[in-house]
Amino acid sequence: MSQSALSSAPVKTAGVALRESPSARERFTDAAEKSWRPVALLLACFVAWWVIAALELVEPYLVPSPGKTFEVIVDKPDYLWQHSWVTTYETLIGFVVAVAIGVFAAVIMVYSSTVEKTLYPILLFAQVVPKIAIAPLFVVWLGFGMAPKIVIAVLIAFFPVVISMVTGLKAVDPEMLQLSSTMGAKPWQTFVKIRFPASLPHLFSGLKVAVTLAVTGAVVGEFVGANEGLGYVILQANGNLDTPMLFAGLLVMSLIGVVLFVIVEIAEKLLLPWHASRRESGVTTAF
């Protein structure tokens, strides 16, 4: 860390230096600089969609026009809202449970090599099993309610949480641990004051992956067997060849994923301001 801090050429006055932190204005222009390209590409895709639909290059029942799609969203807000809420609810519960179990499993694996040796290979193996394929089984076991969807969301979101948390807990500077032992730190003190906070940047990069996967898990659960949720909406629309509704469902579903992702990112900025500012100053690269 000291090396990287040195290399970014601090302003020196008699060995005393404080790096300037960027102003709000600079940060805004920086963000604009970074985001205009993806935004432009998205707009281009949107325009292409519009052109294809308007010129009827593809049959309208295959690709509805953006206007038709938004019409559906505006016409049936209650219907979409109700089913979106179900999917969001399943996603959130699944995500929270995955995080709780994942963090707990990571902590015991890092602190007990016996547990790690027993659990880690099984976890890796379980990752190889396509969880989507066992979704029907959960419907058989747990019925048509929310339970199987939540379980699938948990199963899918769990893995990135464990892996990132284990990586984070292990990435602690060994000298920091030696230092804490010369301070006479109890294991819980080392955990609370050093290891856990040090692992949070890693955990958050796992959470960002996990939250989007949780949406996928919930929708897959709904595909397999449900009478509510966006997965159900999409299947219904598909069956009726109602492509505008299908596109509307997809759009709302993507929106849920994006919003949840942004919420996790905002939480990261609020909880780990030190990490965010370090990343912005280009001293380190994200995990």
């Binding site: 060995g15 920091m176 301070m183």
Partner: protein
């Protein structure tokens, strides 16, 4: 024993092997016939062998030697972070068995917690030791003044230069007034100018606190300027080659010291001992 040539044997107690025969005050650090062997799958490595050294309270001892001579291992032994394969290490009159809490430790990298401000990094020492908060705060302020960190208390580590980070690490190591301060190449990652400033400051801080210091360094000039005695080590297996008594006044001005004949003699002598193995000075 390989450390035969001791220029000023009179004020050294290290040849006294029998504790009961030692009539003087208990040394701050006593290393007796220590050897360290690391066992790996492929081969056994002897990191240290036949090392004996006594450090009197308040003394500043620098340890120089080429890479791989076991300098850092020696410090870890004193701190109780490593166990010796044979021989014994005593700190403050007690045998070292397990991590010691009556020391301050400074590494080459500052090893600061990135989410804590400079002040809070310094106070970590107090938090873990459960020292009274007000007292710890007063001591931290004193050290911040002593190291010239005023105005940077709230800065996060990544906002500080390498020199400032190392000052924070030094303050943290001194917060609990440890009788012995162990420093493992603390200025190795700093540029030459900052390093000189840090040397001057460390000299002043050592004079002010009266702490016993064991400093591992690659820099011969740094060792001679700061230390009462310089331990020169040779590698493979690491052992003490010679201990040089530095004939310089207790209080040393940096530029003036550099120009002294005694300083030049000592550095030339050490450079001769190390051959071309030394990194720089």
């Amino acid at each position: 024993m390989s450390e035969i040539d001791q220029p000023d044997g009179a004020n050294m107690t290290q040849l006294v092997k029998d504790k009961t025969a030692d009539s003087g005050p208990e040394p701050a650090v006593r290393i007796q016939d220590v050897a360290v062997r690391f066992r790996s799958k492929k081969r056994d490595v002897t990191a240290l062998t036949d090392v004996s050294l006594d450090v009197t309270p308040g003394e500043f001892v620098a340890i120089v030697g080429p890479s791989g001579c076991g300098k850092s291992t020696l410090l870890k032994l004193v701190a109780g972070l490593l166990k010796s394969s044979s021989g014994q290490v005593r700190l403050q009159g007690e045998q070292v068995a397990g991590p010691r809490h009556d020391i301050g430790y400074v590494f080459q990298r500052a090893a600061l917690l990135e989410w804590r401000s400079a002040l809070k990094n310094i106070l970590l020492q107090a938090e873990i030791r459960k020292l009274p908060a007000a007292q710890a705060r007063a001591r931290a302020d004193e050290l911040i003044r002593m190291t010239g960190l005023e105005g940077f208390e709230d800065a996060l580590p990544h906002e500080l230069s390498g020199g400032m980070q190392q000052r924070v690490a030094l303050c943290r190591a001194l917060l609990h007034r440890p009788p012995v301060l162990l420093m493992d190449e603390p200025f190795g990652a700093l540029d030459a100018l900052t390093r000189e400033q840090m040397n001057v400051e460390l000299h002043r801080i050592w004079r002010e606190t009266g702490t016993t210091v064991l400093l591992v360094t690659h820099s011969i000039a740094e060792a001679v300027y700061l230390a009462d005695r310089v331990v020169v080590m040779s590698p493979r297996p690491g052992t003490i080659q010679e201990i040089i008594q530095v004939d310089l006044p207790a209080e040393r001005d940096y530029a003036e010291t550099m120009g002294r004949a005694e300083f030049r003699d000592a550095t030339t002598h050490i450079r001769g001992l190390l051959g071309t193995a030394a990194e720089d000075d």
